[in-house]
Structure formats: C-alpha cells, structure tokens
C-alpha cells in the first residue's frame, strides 16, 4: 500500500490549472479586442488598462490573503470610501498635509483590518459577518463625516494615478512589485505557509499549535492596509474622495481572486492568479467599452464571472 502507484504524479504548482485558464482567457480576449477595434490594440490602450486596474489590484491583493485563510473581507468597500474621503478631506488642498495624511490613512486602514481580525478571533464569529458588520459601521461613519465629496488635493497629487515612469504607469509598477513581494512572502515565509494551513484545515492548525491568531491579524490587517493604498490611489485618480468611492469594490475585489483559482474555502491559490484575474476583469471592461454598450453591462459581466469562477473551481466532494 505504501508503494506509489504510477498513476499518482505529484502536482507541482498547486494553482497551475487556474492560472493557465485565466492566461488563456486573457489571450483570447486580447485577440477578440483587436478584432473589434483598431484603437484597442494600441500600446496606449494597453497601458491604460494597466493604469485603470491599479485600484482593483490593490484591494484584491489583500482580499486574496483573507480568502486563502478561508475567510473573506466584506468591509473593503466601505473602508475605501472612508479612507478616500478622509484623504482629500484632511489634506484640504494643502501640500504640507499630503504626507502625514497618507501615513495616517494607511495606519487607519491597518488598524481597522486588525480590529476585524481581533473580532473574528475573540468573538469566534465568521469573518463574513464580522466584516459585513464592520463595513456597515464604516459606511455610517463616513456619511456622518461627509455626505458628498470632501476637501481637495493639491496639484501633483494625481501623479500616483496618472504618472508614468519610463512610459509605464506608476501604479502598474507599484502593483507588480507588491504582488511579487506578497507572492514571495507566501512561498518563502513561515507565516505564508501557515496562511495556507489555516485555510486548509483550521481545526488541524489549532491542534498543530500553529499561530492562527497571528495569521488572521496579518491577513485582515494587510487587507485594511491595502484598502488604504487603494483609497489614496483612487483619491489621486478622481482628485477628491467621496462616501461612495469604494462602493463596488467589495464584490469587485473578490472576483479576480476566485477567477484566479483561489478556493473560496481557502487553503489553495495565490496572488499570481489574482493579478491575472485583475487584468482579465479590466480587459473585459475595456472590451465592453469598445463595444459601445452601457457601462452597466460591466457590473452584470462581473456578477456572472464570479458565479462561474466559483462553480468551475469548486472541489468535487471526495467520496468516502
């Protein structure tokens, strides 16, 4: 029984399959786009897509880690709205305030995320509920702070969203670097390994004495931090923050993670899939733009994609 049957081959890359599927879809869409519009296949359009995907990529990066632990962060949309409104509201047009406010916003995002983690650990309530509740609380707070666009940002603040470095959008560079770092963290840090273990078998992780609390605080804290980054980016892009900036990002942040092959139940997946998922979604939106249909179709497409992705990747129940 202990001898290996020849049929059992090691599957090397755990998330191989999902990544290949997404990559194939990306290529197919690029070809399709090239057919429907001449403008689509210009370099500037591709760079545009990269530029526009920055916000989504930032939130999805944090979301990937929470989903890998078998959890989810549904507070991201409201948190982005709050942090984005605070960014322009507190900077209030003064260049001297940019740095302190940016640091403050990132810290606040981190703290809210850690609060999510602590509530999940202490109350033993499912992350779905904790973060959904947190999201409502945050949305209420931001509306108390401002009912509409708040404050302003100094000129030059939009460099983050529109700046180019050697012709490449700054945001896109930041994204690639961040994803690379987190990918290396997941693969080479012990805590990265424990993220997978907690998502794979939470009770087992406890029996093994793995630091579940540290894992959860890390992933939710990081998700909050990513919301801070996304908020600053979006404020830069729209030149002002308002209480509904992040509205669509809750669902939007989950879609690329699942499309990229990370299991909703946790324990399997990774950030490379998510990044490809982000590019795929952005590409779909871009193609829809070129097809000259209502932007509302983008939302419909996204909803359908997320349902399809989960149903494709769901693991068939093993027969006992």
């Amino acid at each position: 029984m202990s001898a290996i049957a020849p049929a059992q081959r090691p599957t090397r890359l755990r998330n191989n399959q999902g990544i290949l599927v997404v990559a194939a879809l990306l290529v197919a869409l690029l070809i399709f786009g090239a057919f429907i519009s001449d403008r689509f296949r210009t370099l500037s359009n591709i760079l545009n897509i990269l530029e526009q995907s920055t916000g989504l990529a930032l939130v999805s990066l944090g979301q990937t880690l929470t989903i890998l632990t078998g959890g989810i962060d549904l507070s991201v949309g409201s948190l982005i709205s709050l942090l984005s409104t605070l960014t322009s509201g507190l900077i209030a047009g003064k260049a001297s305030m940019v740095l302190p406010v940016a640091i403050g916003v990132l810290l606040l995002g981190l703290l809210v995320g850690i609060a999510n983690g602590l509530l999940i650990i202490w109350l033993r309530v499912h992350p779905l509920i904790v973060t959904l509740g947190m999201g409502a609380v945050l949305q209420g707070i931001v509306l108390l702070y401002s009912l509409g666009p708040a404050g302003a940002v100094p000129p030059g603040f939009n460099y983050l969203a529109y700046g180019r470095l050697l012709g490449v959008p700054v945001g896109a560079i930041v994204i690639v670097v961040l994803f690379l770092l987190v990918g290396l963290f997941l693969r080479y840090a012990r805590l990265g390994r424990y993220i997978y273990a907690v998502g794979d078998d939470e009770a087992g992780a406890r029996l093994m004495g793995l630091p579940r609390a540290r894992v959860l605080l890390t992933v939710y804290g990081f998700s909050g931090f990513c919301c801070g980054l996304a908020a600053i980016y979006l404020t830069s892009r729209f030149s002002v923050g308002q209480p509904y900036t992040g509205l669509n990002y809750t669902l939007a942040s989950i879609t690329p993670v699942l499309v990229g092959g990370t299991l909703l139940s946790g324990g399997k997946g990774g950030v490379l899939g998510t990044l490809l998922g982000v590019y795929l979604i952005s590409l779909i939106n871009n193609v829809l733009n070129f097809m000259d249909v209502s932007t509302h179709y983008q939302l419909i497409a996204q909803g359908l994609i997320v349902i399809a992705a989960v149903s494709i990747y769901v693991e068939k129940k093993k027969r006992v």
Partner: protein
Amino acid sequence: MLTLSGISKSFIGVKALSGIDLDVRAGEIHALVGENGAGKSTTIKIAAGVYRPDAGQIVFEGKPVQWTRPAEAKNAGIHVIYQEFVLFPHLTVAENIYLGHERRNRFGFVDHARTRRDAAELLRKLGVEIDPRMPVSELTVADQQMVEISKALVHKVKLLILDEPTAVISGREAELLFARLAALKAEGVAILYVSHRLEEIFQIADRVTVFKDGAHVATKAIGEVTRDRLISMMVGRDLKDIFPPKKPAGAPGKVVLKAQDISVAGRVRNAGIEARAGEITALAGLVGAGRTELAMGIFGGLPTTSGDVWIDSEKVEAMTPAIAIRKGVGFVTEDRKGQGLAMLLDVAANVTAANLSAVTRNGLIDRRRENEIARQEIENYRIVCRGPATAVATMSGGNQQKVIVARWARTSRKVLILDEPTRGVDVGAKTEIYRIMRGLAEQGIAVLMISSELPEVVGMADRVVVMREGVVSGELAGADISEEAIMSLATQHPGAQAPAMEGLPQ
C-alpha cells in the same frame, strides 16, 4: 515522563473522567485500553493540552504543568497521532511533515529544496516510498499515517501518543509501525499506545492501563495479565452476561422474509437470504462485502437489477421503503445521525416519526398521545433521559440508538433489520440493545442484524449468513457458529486472522 493524577473532566454535565491516574515512563510502551466511552480519548486530549482538566495534576518531566494550548504541550515534546489525522490536504507531503518546523535557509526563508530532501530522507528511514512532492490528499490512508509518524520524528519528541493507530492500516503496515515504535522506545521516547486490539498490545506493550467508564481500573506489567483478565477488567463483567440466551434449539421459525437472486449494481450479485420469525439472523462479512446494500435492496432503499422478495409468502413487486414499512418491515440504519434521528427534535417526536398516523387525529398530531407512547417506550427500553421532551442530541449514543429501535419496533410487525446496531455505544447500552433485540425476536418478529463485530454475531445470532465480495458465501446455524467459521467464509481463507473486524477483543 508524564504523570496524570486525579484528573477529572466533565462535558456539559457528563462526567468523562473521574479522578484517573496514569504514568508513562521514558523508554516504555504503555498501552491504554478500555471500551468505547472509557475516557481514553479525553485523557489523550488532556495530556496534549487540547482540554483542560477540571481537577487533578499533570506532571511532565518532573515539573507540574498546566497546558493552556496544544502548542505548549507540543513544544514541550508531546506529539499526538490522532485517529483523525492532522494533515493539510492541499499541502504537499514535505510541507506537512515540516509544518511548524519549516526548513529555512540562512536568510530565514523557507527552503523548499531542503524541505523536500529532508522529508524524502525521513520517509526513507521509515521504510516507505512516498513522493514528498505529492499533495497529501492524493495519498492512501496508510501513507497518510506514515506522514503523520514522520511528523513526530521531525520534532524532538519525548512522549509519543498514538490513538488507535492500527484501526486504518493493514497487518504489514502495522508491523512496520511496531518496528518503528520499538526503535523510538530504544531511544528513550515514552510511548502511550491507545488501542482495543489486545493482540498487538501483548506484542508491543511493556505495561497496560485499563480504563472503564472514565475511571482507572488497573495498571499492570504486561506479563502480569492475561488476555481474558484484561477483557473482564475492560468490560467489567463476564462475556456470558452481555448476551441474552439464544432461542432454544428446536423447530425453526416460519420464514417471514425471503429474498432471492438479489443484485445491486456493482455491489451485490444474486444474493439470497431468509429471516425467520422468532429468530435473530445475522448478516456477517467484512466491511464492503455488500451486506448493507443487500439489505437496502430488499427494503427498496437501493435499486435492484434482479431478484424477488417475499414477505409472509406474498411476493412484493417493485419494493419501496414505503411499501416495506406498510408490510411491517423496519430498517434501523447504521448512520443514526445522518439517516435515522432528527437530532434536534425530542424523544417523543422521534419515537413516533415512522408511524405518525397512530398519533394523528383529524390531521393534527396529538401531543398528549405522543408523549404517552414515548413515556411507555422510555420505560420499556430503559432509555435514560429526562422525559419525552428531551432533545435527542443531548443523549448518549446508546440511548439514541434505543430511541431508533423503539421507533421501528412500533411499526415493524414482522421484520426488523438493524445495520450495525451497537456501533459507537458503550457496553452497558450494548447489553440493553441485545436484550431488546432478543425480546423482539421472542415476540415473533424476524430480526435481521448486520454486524461487523464478530463476538456480537456469535453471541446473538441463531443463524448467520456470510457475504463476501457481493455474494453470499455461506450460512451457519446453531453450534456451527464461531468466529473462525465466519471469518473463513468472509475471506475464504480458512484460519485467517480477523484484523479487519472491529469491536470487542477477539
């Protein structure tokens, strides 16, 4: 190495351990034996820091300790291999082995190549060929256990606890395991070995401790006890007191249920069986021989591809469970939680569930009548509960089983089929269930019992039908019924041992 003294533990009012003592020394294999519910698993979990004792003291390496988390016990050098493995299915073998003790390079990063190399080395030392790059979910159960054991070897293990390690592996793999345990023992590791297989305990243990009903019965050097002595200590009574007397030899009962040429796709081929009024017929065989499928096919719960069923000499075409129940046939399923009981409902609702019309008046359920029936059955079957309104989920396995049997006995005027009726219940409740089954037979019902526990088959059955790989391989009656005869029919290898059979020590 480890001393537990006066440990007590209760779970929501149920006493699991009352003041037990246990000491395990370095360089010994200490066996812990006892019936289901004796408190073995609770003891392990207290030693491993999963549970905290309500009272008593834990001393590890001469120092009193109070584990608050499993990690503390683990870091101190206690490694537990649970019956349910603690493996992460999506991680590879190597990653599982070194989880929590990652191999790292000098920059502090996880070193994947070294993890794989070291894991391969460990597995080779264990004498198993497992590719360390495989995800654990793709391994056989035996290989998964070897991965569990390799995990213990990674850590500086001082006390290794194994919970029923041979329940899931074959004889050859067990020998491999024993050899490995002997080597660890020689290195001075203390080993606490929980099992109810007495043969292997006599083979490997130095001392043995017996628990019964959450209490310490005795600790003896293995040379001081005999197998029979151990059994009577575990069970607390002689075997002959467990089983009620059989039907006296004489005229066989009338055939009430007759099935011929039954086939169930892929599981049963042309099998036949008869059940007689006033008798207990056992359907024996190894797990997977098709016993449940045959019975379910007869009952109409599984589609059959061939075969006929007669109830009281009346041929029934196109059997369904509803028809079977109407004809007076009952089926107590093996999985009482999944298929039998409504766990959140009370005793009364569960007892009457199969025959609601008896308590329905004008389309409404008559709760008073229902409670009356329940009270009657509680007394009848000595069901331990606070009354008809007790939620079934709060009751012990044995009492839950009695509720189901009570339910079906009410509707089964002719035949009662019971699939593994005593699985997971303690010996006291077993004795009660045996008494109930015999009582039903004496009332003239034909009882058909599916069982994997040989002593139970031998102790209860008036007639035994043995299945092997989907076919009926033989039938035994009266004095011909013995464990050896049944095993021989079940495996077709005369004189074969019974390693795959479960239950009371053989």
